[in-house]
């Protein structure tokens, strides 16, 4: 993080919430350097999903700003944010169940014609990462297992050739073996130059691959540290915060 470099993701004094309810995200400031993995951890209900939803444009920003590679996308629609390089894999319902795998993948790019690097070559590269998906293009996504569905969601997001990838609990509900594969895939994606913001309940798995971690408690960042330095004592603090 040398001074003057453009951050991949920049969040300033962000506040958001649902409908007429109170703020769920209550003033978050965050910078993420390009090509890093940042883990976002925190107790259940602390606002992790709401945070990434706000970044993706699905939850209205009440105040503050979101910038992707230096470009302010706060006023953009979710679709325009994808075109600006911000892709998102939701925690659940992250594929179109009544569409086939092939249709899911096609849909992930055909409305992004303007975006650089989206096309057959990118598709080839992404499908090589997920051979299981690539072999079953005519299967309805609704018929996939949890792990395969997660792969399809991941692949769909990557097809947009994102600068920044938001992942909301990619390991939820997966067997330990598949979790390992998913984490490996995330590392490879980062090696390909993508900046990854990774929300995880599986703290150990997330910290193993992350460069840095932030702890989100009650809609605010309560701690930021290098992943290697977040130890058991900090986790205790995290769960203590949950009780508080």
């Amino acid at each position: 993080m040398t001074g003057g470099d453009i951050q991949a993701l920049s969040v300033r004094s962000l506040r958001s919430g649902y409908g007429r309810g109170g703020d769920i995200i209550r003033g978050v400031d965050l910078d993420q350097a390009p090509e890093t993995i940042l883990a976002v951890i925190g107790p259940n209900g602390s606002g992790k999903s709401s945070f990434v939803k706000t970044l993706a444009g699905l939850l209205d920003v009440r105040s503050g700003h979101v910038m992707v590679t230096g470009r302010d996308v706060t006023a953009e629609t979710p679709a325009k944010r994808v075109a600006a390089g911000l892709a998102y894999v939701p925690q659940e319902a992250n594929v179109f169940p009544s569409l086939t795998i092939g249709e899911n993948l096609k849909l992930a790019t055909e409305f992004l014609r303007g975006r650089a690097g989206v096309g057959p070559e990118q598709r080839q590269r992404v499908l090589e990462l997920f051979p299981e998906i690539a072999a079953r293009l005519r299967t309805r996504a609704g018929d996939l297992s949890g792990g395969q569905r997660q792969m399809l969601a991941f692949a769909s997001a990557l097809l947009a050739n994102p600068e920044v990838l938001l992942l909301d609990e990619p390991s939820a509900g997966l067997s330990p073996k598949i979790v390992g594969q998913t984490m490996e895939a995330i590392v490879r994606v980062r090696e390909a130059g993508v900046t990854v913001l990774l929300v995880e309940q599986n703290v150990a798995a997330a910290l193993r691959i992350a460069d840095e971690a932030v702890v989100l408690v009650a809609g605010q960042i309560s701690l930021r540290a290098r992943a290697a330095e977040v130890g058991a004592s900090d986790l205790a603090e995290l769960f203590f915060a949950k009780v508080a």
């Binding site: 699905l58 979710p78 679709a79 994808v82 319902a93 179109f96 009544s98 569409l99 849909l107």
Partner: protein
């Protein structure tokens, strides 16, 4: 007699299939029951009547004009009304569509009065086939509807717009983060639905006199067909329309013809009581 009624029922069913499909598409993509289907059918009938009788155009060209007119009305109603209420939920949208329905009906009444009108078409003699009487209008209706259904099916299955519509129906926010602009898909869906309703208007004008309530006559059967097919399911709506059409015509065997609307009411009531997802629609309930 029964065979003749069955045949008439199939044609009536095909006529209802277009608006039932329109209703179910709006429900799938935009998640509300559009009460204005009937009035948009009426608008289509009048638009075609103006083109055909006032401007002297052939009926085919008049049908195209009707399709474009109602498509424009659908897009305008989305822009002026429905888009503003998109986040308010399906009840607000339903109530708003009742308002749109009243406005369209009364614009037609104001512009054309209450008198019955008809297209300028040469009368033709019905054909007899296997003891069934088939008139020219029935052949036209069946052919036009079947072509429309094939086109819509191809569009839904193979075109980017069709994929986007199905994706939005599945999960609108996921579609948004895959780059699909919801507003664009909504507008194009309204254009498609408007075109279908416009064509349905022309066909209903072949079937009966054009007056401000022409579309309203089909309102209950349209809803019955779409609900029977499981709201949101295009194939279900078509199947539902055929069932309703046949049931209405065949009811003449047991009840006086003036009461045939009772059939659709009874179907809706029975479905609401016993099978809220329709006969074919376990799918629609999942959403």
């Amino acid at each position: 007699m029964a065979v003749q009624l069955f045949f008439n029922g199939l044609v009536t069913g095909l006529l209802i299939a277009l608006p039932a499909l329109a209703l179910t598409l709006i429900f799938g993509v935009l998640k509300f029951a559009n009460f204005a289907v009937g009035s948009m059918v009426t608008l289509g009938a009048y638009a075609a009547w103006v083109a055909n009788v006032r401007l002297g155009l052939p009926l085919s060209a008049s049908a195209a004009i009707a399709a474009v007119t109602v498509a424009a009305a659908g897009v305008a109603s989305d822009q002026l009304v429905f888009e503003r209420l998109r986040e308010r939920g399906s009840i607000s949208l339903l109530v708003a569509s009742m308002g749109v329905s009243l406005i369209i009906e009364n614009v037609c009444r104001f512009a054309f009065g209450n008198a019955s009108r008809g297209f300028d078409v040469a009368p033709s003699r019905p054909i007899r086939w296997q003891g069934i009487r088939i008139n020219q209008e029935q052949i036209t209706t069946a052919a036009v509807v079947l072509v429309c259904l094939v086109l819509v099916d191809a569009l839904l299955r193979f075109s980017p717009l069709g994929r986007a519509m199905r994706a939005v129906a599945d999960n609108a926010s996921l579609a948004a983060v895959r780059g699909v602009e919801r507003r664009t898909v909504a507008r194009l869906t309204w254009a498609l639905v408007g075109a279908l309703l416009g064509v349905a208007g022309v066909l209903s004008g072949l079937d009966r006199a054009i007056d401000p309530l022409i579309g309203w006559n089909y309102q209950i059967p349209i809803f019955a067909a779409a609900i029977l097919g499981g709201l949101g399911s295009p194939l279900g709506a078509i199947a539902g329309a055929l069932v309703i059409g046949v049931a209405e015509e065949m009811s003449a065997l047991v009840i006086p013809t003036n009461y045939r609307q009772v059939v659709s009411f009874a179907v809706i009531l029975a479905l609401l009581l016993f099978r809220a997802n329709g006969l074919f629609g376990a799918k629609a309930a999942r959403r």
